[in-house]
Symmetry: C2
Subunit: 241 residues, 2 copies
Amino acid sequence: MSDAEPASGAAQTPGELPADPFADPVYREAIIDLLGGLAYGELTAFSRLAGDAELAPTLDGKAALARMAVTEFGHYERISARLRDLGIEPHAAMDPFVVPFDAFHDRTTPKTWLEGLIKAYVGDGIASDFYREISAYVDPSTRALVVSVLDDLGHSDFVVNAVVAAIEADPTVGGRLALWGRRLVGEALSQAQRVAAERDALTMLLVGGGLPGADLAELTRMLARLTDEHTKRMERLGLTP
Amino acid sequence: MSDAEPASGAAQTPGELPADPFADPVYREAIIDLLGGLAYGELTAFSRLAGDAELAPTLDGKAALARMAVTEFGHYERISARLRDLGIEPHAAMDPFVVPFDAFHDRTTPKTWLEGLIKAYVGDGIASDFYREISAYVDPSTRALVVSVLDDLGHSDFVVNAVVAAIEADPTVGGRLALWGRRLVGEALSQAQRVAAERDALTMLLVGGGLPGADLAELTRMLARLTDEHTKRMERLGLTP
């Protein structure tokens, strides 16, 4: 991808963005992909959390998951507004991500309340880490938006306490949930590869290609960091990563 | 029910509330029931709208229904806060309403996107009209809260346009959807009767019983008004009531 030239024609040093990066259609396309994926991720997170709330054993648990869903929808609204500012309808930007995100969710439909909680916690954690990493390569206003929608949903303690208590009550639960955590990561990686293979502009944003992106060594380190963070989250839940 | 005496022992003229109506445990119980039912209604409306959003034929439609769900959850949060102010946990206040509301929703699960839209519009309309009527008999601060969560969800035009367009495209749809509308009302009435039979304090709030409520003639007029409003909504949708 090193032969790709920014359409603006301006010479660029990797690691630096031009004054108006959106003048470059490849950059604009990459950001629209980034925000389109993020928007659809938030919209599906809303739907799935709202659906998983039905599995709650108590009304308080139901309200807690519904509250997380509502937070995700607020993020969706802000990203949609930005997409419209960039001159594209949110549905058009989200369209390429419908198949991979839906495939991920269809393959990881929680069967129990605890599986739902772990999916919310682990899935949200990986997505947040990934978007935070990629935000290093984008213009400041995009970065500010991305980082702002990655705010902690405030459900970490709620999920950790519920999972830890369930494992204490029945230690055999831990093995099954650890397997579930590994399956979530496996499915997420598999769909991420699919997106990377299909969305050139987005991938170029990540690995450079004329635009300021990560080189291969940095990409490897990034994947290592994402894995480390996932491991820490599983450990906080009392689960073998 | 005319032999029920307010526990405060104060003589009351029907139509007037004492300065501190909450000193009367029957009034307090009635308001907790009113708000508990309203809270659980909003929480289930959230879940069902979020679920029905999955039936949307477009991403814009999905986001529109999700937006309505989020509005309902905001109402739930405000009613919950008031219940806590009254010294009761929201889940305890909602508990008596779980069975009748869930029964209503289980019997009226939409099978299509249009059925989901009509349920949102008609169900929300009837509930709003009912709570607006009952709010005439409560203290000003409860009334202000109830009326504020009955704000138009802003989806009327969206639903009306979608249903009218669907009937224009295929007039046979109209007959099926009219039947669906009648079924929604029938199931709602059936569950309302169940609640009225089981929740004495709430029923007394509505029909008097020492507290300022509607007399039988007024109750009949109220039911006529609710029916009229439902008829108008069905007509706006282009459906035979």
